[in-house]
């Protein structure tokens, strides 16, 4: 048996087209969506992501401003920057690029972004809404992974799903999203005694740990869907390569569907970020016209 590849680029392109139409509609209503990306210090590690996001935003009709602050910026200063962006009606979403210098706790900064501008879905209120099954601005990677599963001809209600990895921004939100859709969800992690026992009885497996080769074909039920969220750089005799958490060859032999890395969850995550940007803009427009304006126009 050979698994069908789940085409992340194709899914991202379809999402992008819908998002672009939304962005255009918002722009003609006087609310052109705009994202601001914040990185601090040496940007080499984040640069690839920023460039990628910027390109996607441009292609979707979303303005994208990349700001880089010096390594020496204090938490108070950066919090002040965020407060300014929260108050600026022309900015609809804020992205905080990681890694950050150690004196800038990422959680504190994520909490500082206004929940209506939290396009990364990292504010505690955004995560809480996921648990409440009220999907407004969800954490992009988790939402993207679930969207990919939803493209498959599977009935999610009653589906047995195993999530490997219980990180706060990927594994746990996926678990709650899938439970909200009616799946029976098991979450495994580094303390789990036998991951294989849990993965082998699942109709769908999500893996988000950050360990190449963690999931092998013998850990899967034949025909299962495998959504691989890991992005790992490894050295091979042929040079550096990007691989997921699954051993692709052996898993593709057993699984019914599998996401490739790269070209799987990655592009859909960026597409979800853009989707969040237009959704955030729409929510801000509605909030503004509901509370302040009589004609729905943006101030200033």
């Amino acid at each position: 048996m050979t698994a069908t590849r789940i085409d992340g680029k194709g899914i991202a392109a379809r999402m992008g087209a819908a998002t672009a139409a939304e962005a255009e509609e918002l722009a003609s209503a006087g609310w052109p969506p705009k994202l601001v990306s914040i990185s601090v210090g040496d940007v080499a590690a984040a640069e690839l992501y920023v460039r990628n996001q910027s390109r996607r935003a441009e292609a979707t009709g979303i303005a994208f401003e990349a700001r880089n602050y010096p390594e020496t910026i204090s938490l108070e200063q950066l919090t002040g920057v965020l407060a300014g962006l929260n108050a600026d009606p022309s900015v609809n979403g804020v992205i905080i690029q990681r890694p950050l210098p150690t004196h800038l706790p990422v959680r504190t900064l994520q909490r500082t972004v206004h929940p209506l501008k939290d396009v990364e879905g990292m504010h505690p209120a955004s995560i809480g809404n996921i648990v409440y099954n009220d999907l407004a601005l969800g954490p992009c990677t988790a939402v993207a992974a679930v969207e990919m599963l939803k493209t498959l001809p599977l009935t999610i209600e009653g589906l047995d799903v195993t999530v490997i990895g219980h990180s706060e921004i990927v594994g746990k939100p996926i678990a709650f999203l899938m439970m909200g859709l009616g799946a029976t969800v098991t979450v495994c992690h580094h303390m789990t005694r036998q991951v294989a026992v849990n993965s082998r009885r699942a109709d769908a497996v999500f893996v988000a740990v950050g360990k190449p080769g963690l999931v092998t074909g013998d850990m899967l039920k034949p025909g299962a869907a495998l959504i691989d969220i890991g992005i790992n750089r490894i050295e091979t005799p042929e040079g550096a390569r990007t691989v997921g958490d699954a051993d692709f060859e052996s898993c593709a032999e057993v699984a019914g569907w599998i996401t490739p890395v790269p070209g799987g969850v990655g592009p859909v995550t960026v597409a979800t970020l853009m989707q969040n940007a237009v959704l955030a803009t729409r929510m801000q427009m509605e909030r503004y016209s509901g509370e302040y304006a009589t004609n729905g126009a943006r101030p200033g």
């Binding site: 959680r107 504010h123 505690p124 209120a125 955004s126 995560i127 809480g128 809404n129 996921i130 648990v131 409440y132 009220d134 209600e157 009653g158 047995d160 219980h166 706060e168 921004i169 746990k172 939100p173 678990a175 709650f176 439970m179 009616g182 799946a183 029976t184 969800v185 098991t186 979450v187 495994c188 992690h189 580094h190 303390m191 789990t192 005694r193 849990n198």
Partner: protein, 307 residues
């Protein structure tokens, strides 16, 4: 019953909750003698549902018995949503109030989501505000809903560390099932979240070292489904007919068939007298925790599990 059969240990929530309430009262006394603060809980009741009134009264009695201040706000059933929001804003700003509890259910014309989101998350002692739910999910010092917090305390008291244990939560309510799953994940259990759509519930329950039953269906979980030695926390409170007690009599049972489970489980909470009494005790814990955090005082050590 067969003498040789191993019987489960009873997890006595009533006794545990009494000790917890004493512990809270001691801490409150200590805060008061140091002149730091007297924790205060505002309980808001809208309408005159008799069951809600009973709950509110028992909560207020417990608050006062622990040496805290209790503020009661009893509003007419026809109170508008705006009027209730005004009260919430006023309580948010009141320095004597550290916890705000809006008794649910609210009358139909009031959206509970809007009211809960209006509560300052720092004073949200029910732990229902999305920010607290998200903080629980991300391990950022949440106020945790009282019932699952009580379940976690009982489990830890009985088992010690929960890391690596297989846990199954049956039921996915916002008030119990979901936060329970998040708590158990936070304590490194391998967690399965099962519910009404789960295909093979007996098998799922049968693999668990820890079963938390919160589905709200009498005797949903059979004793012979359980893995021998499993620890069973039964959150269900269901009223069923009890003809053996006389015509028209009712009795309370949990979601687990207690008699069957008693022969298989390692330990089990009774209904009543198991999880129930823990809920109010945890409300006191949360009010004390909220007061300490708002005043930037050290939280009493070991009172609530680390989250």
């Amino acid at each position: 019953m067969d003498d040789i059969a191993k019987k489960a240990t009873l997890i006595d929530g009533k006794r545990f909750s009494e000790q917890l309430r004493e512990r809270v009262a001691d801490e409150v006394g200590r805060l008061a003698t140091r002149g730091d603060v007297v924790p205060g809980l505002a309980v808001v009741l809208v309408g005159d549902d008799p069951a809600s009134r009973v709950y509110v009264q028992s909560k207020q009695r417990a608050v006062t018995a622990a040496g805290m201040r209790s503020f009661e706000h009893s509003l007419a059933a026809e109170t508008t949503q705006q009027r209730l929001l005004d009260l919430i804003h006023q309580l948010n700003a009141d320095a004597d109030v550290h916890g705000i509890l809006v008794q649910l259910p609210l009358p139909d014309h009031i959206d509970p989501g809007v009211i809960i989101e209006a509560i300052d998350p720092r004073k949200d002692v029910d732990g229902f505000h999305p920010t607290n739910v998200g903080r629980l999910g991300t391990g950022q010092g949440a106020l945790v809903p009282c019932t699952p917090l009580g379940c976690l305390m009982l489990l830890q008291a009985h088992l010690g560390s929960l890391a690596g244990r297989e846990a199954v939560v049956v039921g996915r309510s916002n008030i119990v099932g979901k936060p329970m799953a998040a708590l158990l994940l936070g304590h490194d259990c391998t967690v399965t979240m099962a519910h009404s759509r789960t295909r093979n519930l007996p098998d799922v329950v049968g693999r668990a070292d820890i079963v938390v039953a919160a589905a709200g269906r009498a005797h949903l979980i059979q004793g012979d489904w359980l893995k021998p030695g499993a620890v069973v926390i039964d959150v269900g409170i269901n009223r069923i007919a009890a003809p053996e007690r006389g015509e028209g009599k009712m009795r309370l049972v949990g979601d687990v068939d207690f008699d069957g489970a008693f022969a298989t489980a390692g330990a089990i909470t009774p209904v009543p007298g198991g999880v129930g009494p823990m809920t109010i005790a945890c409300l006191l814990v949360n009010t004390l925790t909220a007061a300490c955090r708002i005043h930037q005082l050290d939280e009493p050590e070991g009172l609530a599990p680390s989250l």
